[in-house]
Point group: C2
């Protein structure tokens, strides 16, 4: 366990962001856009990806190891950029920490409540996220009258990772997954998995204009900014581009990660380092 | 490291079979069919599945932990029922053991050489298996004149696990993956991933009658029988049905494993136990 170091943490320390693999890069991308002064240390657990089909115990164990690694890197705050880990591990691990920690689920839930007009919200995500009912729990804490319908979409992640972002097969699978949700009359759909923003245009076309898509990655970056402001931790120093600013670590297959990251990030990532996460 | 116990190992000891998850059950199924007297201890690494997109170092580390677990269960032989682990880890770990160990790749390669008439063999598998060129290495050791063409098919595993064994989407993806192989004039296709026998009929229809499918699971069970005979380790005692005969262990999500296993095995599996494989 780390010592209490909250007060000593300087505002120019990096923000730690982690995910089961590449999906969380959509969250990192939003942080880069919205608060460009922030340094980021990103960890993708590519040796143990995916998280979405694994148990709460396993995901909590994995997340705790990653948090230990990020604390060793002296991060000032931690963003769980993975819906499954946010659903399963965040509440438990947050209590053990002296730096702020936030996930993607609460910001996504909050935004959806603000957006919906008819009180019917759909959520799509991995089996883990949907099975945890975490979105409906948070949404109904804010407004118990809202009806939340969840749908697990296990094929979206492999389709995105195979690069089929605009493809008839992805269309066909999306129709199957989403038609029940659309028929149930939702006016808001939460993209409850960090891979999904990459097929946002396909999803939007299939649910139609009557349904507003909520991207928790966007909302998370917004809330992170507010959180850092409130804690006087917002970095005021303008950052130079380069490895110093954004550091990427993975547990396996650094080259493949780099290729994928470069396809979705505006800034080329110079390198990703492999670490042995099981030792943390 | 275990002590040398080869000579003491009784013929009624179980055979250890392992895979990254459920796929190796197609190999276990063939062993059950072809040598029904054998007891089996199966391990599926469901906490770290899939192996196909991970590195040689990672797969070797994971496989070594599983082998330690199986040795603790006093198995008389180990079958690596995973093409990726057979490709990456078998050669190295085999040297460290005093019990026979075999994978699925060599039996599959050998059978394909026997089957082909025009000397053109196709192999489909995960990125790891195909990238390792393991099938062409073994095939060309037997006959350097044979031309081997590999094709990674990363979406087949998630499609199988989603249950789309007979489905237009699987057809469409299979056409994309296989048409190049068919055009290249192969007359033999190795199903180089343990999930693929479950979509055998789809694959057979798409490659057409001119291409013979080789299922390494079948060949592996056949070679295991020969190996055990040669070593005087074939179990002569007829086994009763029940948990004693077939034991299943996983690293996560035992319930889900059980459901999937029951959908492909003739004998209902009574239970799957979860163990902490990282401690081995």
């Amino acid at each position: 366990m780390e010592l209490k170091i909250d007060k000593e943490m300087p505002a120019d320390a990096p923000v730690g962001v982690f995910d089961s693999g590449v999906g969380g890069l959509t969250v990192a991308r939003e942080i880069m856009r919205q608060i460009p002064n922030e340094k980021i240390i990103y960890f993708g657990d590519t040796a143990r990806v995916p998280y979405g089909s694994k148990s709460k115990e396993t995901i909590t164990k994995y997340s705790r190891q990653i948090v230990r690694f990020l604390q060793e890197q002296q991060v000032k705050a931690i963003v769980v950029a993975c819906n499954t880990a946010s659903a399963y591990a965040l509440d438990e691990i947050e209590k053990e920490l002296d730096i702020p920690m936030m996930g993607v689920v609460k910001p996504g839930a909050k935004a959806a409540v603000e957006v919906t007009k008819n009180g019917r919200i759909g959520v799509i995500g991995t089996e883990g996220t949907i099975g945890s009912h975490i979105y409906s729990t948070y949404i109904n804490q804010i407004d118990p009258g809202i009806k939340v319908t969840g749908k697990a979409c296990p094929l979206f992640v492999p389709l995105v990772e195979e690069g089929l972002w605009q493809d008839p097969v992805t269309d066909e699978i999306a129709v199957r997954y989403l038609s029940g949700l659309v028929e149930s009359g939702i006016d808001t759909l939460i993209l409850g998995c960090t891979h999904y923003p990459l097929i946002r245009s396909t999803l939007g076309r299939i649910v139609g204009k009557g349904v507003t898509l909520v991207n928790p990655a966007y909302e998370t970056a917004r809330e992170l900014k507010e959180l850092l402001e409130k804690k006087n931790l917002l970095n005021q120093k303008k950052q130079e581009l380069g490895t110093e600013r954004y550091c990427f670590y993975v547990s396996d297959m650094a080259d493949k990660f780099q290729t994928f990251a470069n396809s979705i990030l505006t800034y080329g990532i110079l390198s990703a380092k492999t670490i042995h996460i099981e030792n943390y």
